[in-house]
């Protein structure tokens, strides 16, 4: 049996009485791709915030392999092997595409260790540029990229950073159908090499990438299973999908 990459144990957060995430437990195995589904306000993004350290939890624990990372500082969690893509694409706008990736490739976080010149990961960066389809734009300043390209660049930052676990918060938000499809190709390419957790609304995209789905509802885990199991789960239908199923 595969090893657990990410273990979440009874994780909760209490915003002055409102429990946005309430006792969520899940185990994501090494190399798995897990999709988080749920209506608005179900706690998907908050769960990602808790895992990546943006929000401090008020109960429960998070482990990366055997290391407990509950409520660490964000950059330490990142160094422990969790990478995150934001809902609103965020890249370094005034740097070129290549420079963006070079920054992400930097393995040593300290100031003084980085007082030298040049980044050494050229081959890796060329490979990532190819994968995200921005080879021709490598010398361009990131501010001039289209919305879709910016999303891919951020994915590229994550791939270059090479964390064990990748959290993707709505990676296809605002994308055209063609762009969404290309994104699914990129994500599928990462399958197996990284453990991936995706929050996504776009069902076409979910179908293209999903293996297992966890459904959140009102801050709690409602159901977990394959696409088919989730589609046919009466609890899920009642709470979230309505009676028509996933369309």
């Amino acid at each position: 049996m595969a090893q657990a990459a990410l273990t979440i144990d009874g994780l909760s957060v209490d915003f002055e009485g409102f429990k946005a995430v309430n006792g969520v437990s899940m185990i994501v195995e090494d190399g798995e791709l897990r999709v988080l589904l749920g209506a608005n306000g179900a706690g998907k993004t908050t769960l990602m915030d808790l895992i990546s350290g943006k929000t401090k939890s008020t109960g429960g624990r998070v482990f990366v392999h055997d290391t407990e990372i509950t409520n660490w500082e964000e950059h330490k969690i990142a160094r422990a092997g969790i990478g995150r893509k934001f809902q609103i694409p965020s890249v370094f706008k005034e740097l070129t595409v290549r420079r963006n990736l070079e920054v992400a490739s930097c393995k040593n976080p300290g100031v003084f260790a980085n007082l030298g010149f040049g980044f050494s990961a050229k081959a890796k960066i060329d490979e990532v540029l190819e994968l995200i389809g921005l080879t021709e734009e490598a010398g361009q300043v990131a501010a001039y990229l289209s919305h879709g390209q910016t999303q891919w660049l951020e994915l590229g930052l994550l791939i270059t950073q090479d964390p064990k676990i990748i959290l993707l918060d709505e990676p296809t938000a605002g994308m055209t159908q063609a762009e969404t499809h290309k994104t699914s190709l990129i994500v599928n390419n990462l399958k197996g090499r990284h453990t991936i957790i995706v929050v996504e609304h776009d069902m076409a995209f979910v179908r293209e990438i999903a293996e297992r789905i966890t459904v959140l509802h009102l801050g709690q885990v409602l159901a977990e299973g394959s696409v088919a199991e989730i589609e046919n789960d009466p609890k899920v239908r009642a709470a979230y999908l309505g009676s028509k199923g996933i369309t």
Partner: protein, 382 residues
Amino acid sequence: MMSKRRIDWAIYAAFIVLIMLVPLIMDSFWLNRLAKYLVFGMLGIAVALSWGYAGILNLGQGLFFGAGAYMLAMSLKLASSTSLQQGSDKPVPDFMLWNAEPGAKTELCCINKASFLWLPFQSQWFGVAMGLILPVAIAFVLGSIVFRKRIAGVFVSIITLALVLLVRLVMIDAQPVTNGFNGLTDLGWFKLGGFEFDPYVVPTYYLIAVSLSVVLIAARLLVETRAGVILQAIRDDQNRARYLGFDVPAYQTFFFAVSALIAGFAGMLYVIVSEFASPTFMDLSFSITMVVWAAVGGRASILGACIGAILINMISATVSETEGFAEAWKAIIGLIFVLVVLYMPRGIAGLAHDLIDRFITRRPSTPAPAVRVNDPSSQPAE
């Protein structure tokens, strides 16, 4: 891309050669003035580093400038002949004697309650060391608190602004040790291996010019290191950098402190050429003026901000002495600032880069001669 970078360095080289050649054509009065403007150029570099590269708009850069200035001025005050009055061989600043309580022992240790603080400044090199250490220490403590607490943007500006005003008040209030409002005047000359730096001789100009060149090149190299690139990434998107695993406050604090170091160094050099240190260095208007220099020169360019400072001061000196302009000058400088911010947000350096870009794309095969592209930026020292 590569050739553009080479042109950049050629312009740096041209600038340095230019400031080295100036003594051939200038009299000692103007040379002393220009030396002061070169010091301001160094302040421009400090501002560009923190504002342009780190995204930290420090409205209290004068605090670091003043700290550097006062530290060296204390040493030079003790080295001045005015501190050896009444035939004593132990230096005591004249203003302490004027204000001494009747019957107080006229020695540095105990002429007043805090005068012992001056004791180590009898060594000039203690003053020099403190002039560098104090600004860095202040910046480090301030940065550690502010950046760890994730205070950013305009709030950092407000904190630095308040701090420089606070320190200015304290300096004026601590009259017995600082000579308050009047500052430290009648200073001795800086000495280096037996040579005395008279502010009106050519070697003093070269002390400043060489210092500026070294700081200019060092700052440019620093922003090209990996840490410098990561710093710019942090400026663009702090959170993104944080989730890539970078300790954001450590980077911000480091470059904030480097900026303070440069400002402190500039403060010391200013004392050497101007022979005084005063609380006006910590006036709010002075700190804001530095920001204007950098904005006009181009805050995203180390050399641009440096040239901006020198250029504005050169023009200011000429124009404000022309009758009819003397009063209007401040309004003119304000107007220039507004126009630059509105229509030339990247300043003179941005303009120069656009010209270079056009030049390269027109004649891609031949490397551009440095002199030609240098035209827009070489005006200040002519």
